[in-house]
């Protein structure tokens, strides 16, 4: 996803669609989000990119440590907590639940 300078425009502006997230200005954010690829192929591609980004940064290194896997497990615990929040709500120490 490199930013491409389209020859159609002047050399100082880049079309919004192809900017990376950190380069998008706050006002352009809604149009940037709406122009993302929401086809199934696009969504799968997004998940794949995210997976490989994490994998290559934390796990696919010569001396990876436990922390790479632990972050995934912590995210899993958080996800399970959110899923079972409805039942856990009743276990708080309150006078009126």
């Amino acid at each position: 996803m490199a930013s491409v300078v389209c020859g159609f425009f002047s050399f100082f502006s880049v079309p919004v669609k192809e900017k990376k997230l950190m380069d998008v200005k706050l006002g352009e954010l809604p149009s940037w989000i709406l122009m993302r690829d929401f086809t199934p192929k696009g969504i799968v591609g997004a998940f794949q990119r995210g997976y490989y980004r994490y994998y290559n940064k934390y796990i696919n290194v010569k001396k990876g440590s436990i922390a790479g896997v632990n972050m995934v497990l912590a995210a899993y615990v958080l996800f399970s907590y959110c899923l079972s929040y409805k039942e856990l709500k009743h276990e708080r120490r309150r006078k009126y639940h």
Partner: protein, 226 residues
Amino acid sequence: MNENLFASFITPTLMGLPIIILIIAFPNILFPSPNRLINNRLVSFQQWLIQLVLKQMMTMHNLKGRTWSLMLISLIMFIGSTNLLGLLPHSFTPTTQLSMNLGMAIPLWAGAVITGFRHKTKASLAHFLPQGTPIPLIPMLVIIETISLFIQPMALAVRLTANITAGHLLMHLIGGATLVLTSISTPTAMITFIILVLLTVLEFAVALIQAYVFTLLVSLYLHDNT
């Protein structure tokens, strides 16, 4: 308290979507596939573990039985990782559901038995009568052996379900008891907490052992039939 106790065993859905599919597929992410000769630490460690398990488990089989090695090794990795992930707080363990364990046990057992009947019919039928039984006892013994054959998949599934479910329930109960006891009498709470710690260590062992037992029994049924 009663409703809460079994709430963690309900199949998780998010607004009607079965999240359980994601939860069953989750351990798959934790086992990256090796694609070089020398891999990163995680993959090398897993390769070493899998080789250890493979050597331990498949030496007793002949050539025909060893065609099942992929199935058995992926079985033990799946059950082991799923059970261990279930020990994390708030997580859902798919192996507590009898339906899933039956779905694993019945096809594997049936495959082993049908392989035996197809390739060594006489020997498979001979399993129904142990050697050296007195002649008057033969009809009864054949019936008993048939029953014990058909109970094998049920026993496989129910063993796994009951062990994991019982462990989780015990941890919930003793944890709840510890919490309540802290305000009543602290030394009793300390004792209960120590029991909880010991139970957790046991659960880690049980998670791995159950996976091993399941796979070992399937491989035993295979050995009988190849």
